[in-house]
């Protein structure tokens, strides 16, 4: 173990940001993706070319709090911590329970899942339908960016080297009486990387659709969402007419362009994605909360 590796583990966020301002580092939160990505032989540490900075212990990044009706989730909260937190909505908890397995949920973080920007990132379809925003901090201050602007492609995010994602903001999530569905299709219930991910969000007033959102994962370089298609359904009454459902499915058929890879095929992915959508649209009644 001769190779010299520089790693930092500061006591507070300020020191961490100050180091990032001086040096471009690889940021490690839970490490559940980074350690696999850079894996080398047994007994040999992963090959990470930059200096490393550990952030998952920073208490500033582990807070969950409420601001008006918005939910603010610290980027380094693990899935298990979110499952135990009273403020996290039941729909989000149910989705988290279907992600990974206990050991990974004790280590993986929400911020890590976002910054890893995998096309199959488990939480991403859900965060897209929640209209999640991210707070980024650097020594120069902070900014807030929508998740769909932040994630630009596979493993590409709009983060400057001196910035850290500190918080995930779910706007209005604590007041909306929305029905949220999350589906993940994989080879195994636990720990599998998704072949298809789907999140659906619907808010109804007296059988009329007030707001509806869909996001698909693992069927394109980033999550697939379309505000134009969603808009077509606003104001319609449930149950939806078959022709309405067919139109929406046909619209998504045009914009979902999956690929073949080791986990699945383009054909399978598209059929499953559209079936999940059709099933979501065909439900007669939605339970909120």
């Amino acid at each position: 173990m001769a190779e010299k590796i520089t790693a930092y583990r500061f006591d507070c966020l300020e020191q961490t940001l100050s180091q990032l301002n001086k040096e471009d580092c690889a940021i490690i939160a839970g490490g559940t993706d980074v350690m696999v990505l850079h894996k080398s032989r047994r007994g040999v540490p992963p090959k990470i070319l930059k200096s490393v900075v550990f952030i998952d212990h920073l208490s500033e990044l582990k807070q969950v709090n409420q601001n008006q009706k918005d939910l603010h989730i610290g980027a380094c909260c693990t899935y298990s911590e979110l499952l135990e937190h009273a403020l996290i909505p039941v729909a989000l908890k149910n989705a988290i329970k279907s992600i990974a397995a206990p050991a990974i949920r004790n280590r993986g973080t929400l911020g890590g899942n976002i910054c890893n920007a995998s096309p199959a990132g488990d939480t991403l379809p859900l965060l897209y339908v929640y209209n999640a925003k991210l707070r980024l901090r650097s020594v120069n201050g902070e900014r807030i960016v929508a998740i769909n602007d932040f994630i630009q492609g596979p493993r590409r995010v709009q983060r400057d080297p001196n910035e850290i994602v500190t918080e995930i903001i779910l706007p209005s999530v604590l007041e909306e009486d929305a029905h949220v569905v999350f589906e993940k299709v994989g080879n195994r219930n636990a720990d599998a990387i998704a072949k298809v991910g789907f999140a659906g969000y619907i808010r109804i007033n007296d059988a009329r659709i007030e707001d509806v959102r869909f996001a698909f994962g693992a069927v394109g370089p980033t999550m697939v969402r379309s505000l134009n298609i969603e808009k077509k359904l606003v104001g319609k009454t449930l149950p939806l007419a078959d022709s309405d459902i067919a139109e929406i499915v046909a619209d998504f058929d045009k914009i979902i362009r999956p690929i073949d890879d080791q986990r699945s095929t383009a054909v399978y992915r598209k059929i499953v994605a559209l079936n999940l959508l059709r099933y979501f649209l065909s439900l007669k009644q939605y339970q909120t909360k």
């Binding site: 173990m1 190779e3 010299k4 590796i5 790693a7 583990r9 490690i28 839970g30 490490g31 559940t32 350690m35 696999v36 894996k39 047994r42 007994g43 040999v44 540490p45 992963p46 990470i48 490393v52 550990f54 998952d56 212990h57 298990s80 329970k97 990974a100 397995a101 206990p102 050991a103 990974i104 004790n106 280590r107 219930n189 636990a190 720990d191 599998a192």
Partner: protein, 158 residues
């Protein structure tokens, strides 16, 4: 130098901070009960407790656990809980080749410590991160059920 607690003993290492906890446990501290299966967090053979939480040691860079309390299968072998699991796994026929068993025991202990009377679905979720290629899992589920029944009062929430 990274310092942490390993099975109750304070230890130090000068291994690089990105070294995997799994390699350190096996190669430097020669605790070989913890196994490497997939090395990618999908099989659970390398499960350990980090501050009492079940985690995959193949995914943990040791720099991230400075000051933490780590327990491996060797560290829990003297506990009543381990003895009960050992007996239950034997009685239920839950062990065949045995490679996954240290990880299975860690996952079983983690599950029962949080939830002393799990349903079958909760047991299956509790070991969902652990792969066994021999038993087909049913005997392992039986073993955990047995340990839950016999261990009344033993599995207090930590």
């Amino acid at each position: 130098m990274i310092k942490f607690t390993l099975n109750g003993r304070i230890v130090e290492t000068d291994a690089p901070p990105t070294a995997r906890l799994l390699d350190l446990i096996r190669d430097e501290f020669e605790l070989i009960g913890t196994k490497e299966g997939c090395g990618e967090g999908e099989c659970g053979a390398c499960s350990v407790f980090v501050n009492n939480l079940l985690q995959n040691s193949c995914l943990i860079p040791i720099g991230a656990i400075a000051g933490a309390d780590i327990q491996t299968i060797e560290g829990i072998m003297e506990t009543e809980q381990f003895k009960l699991l050992d007996e239950s796994y034997s009685n239920a026929g839950g062990v065949q080749c045995g490679y996954c068993i240290p990880g299975m025991i860690m996952a079983s202990a983690a599950l029962l410590s949080n939830n002393p009377h799990p349903t079958e679905a909760e047991i299956r979720d509790g070991i969902s991160g652990n792969l066994c290629r021999c038993t087909g899992y049913n005997m392992i589920v039986d073993a955990i059920n047995l340990a839950a029944k016999k261990g009344d009062g033993l599995w207090q929430k930590k």
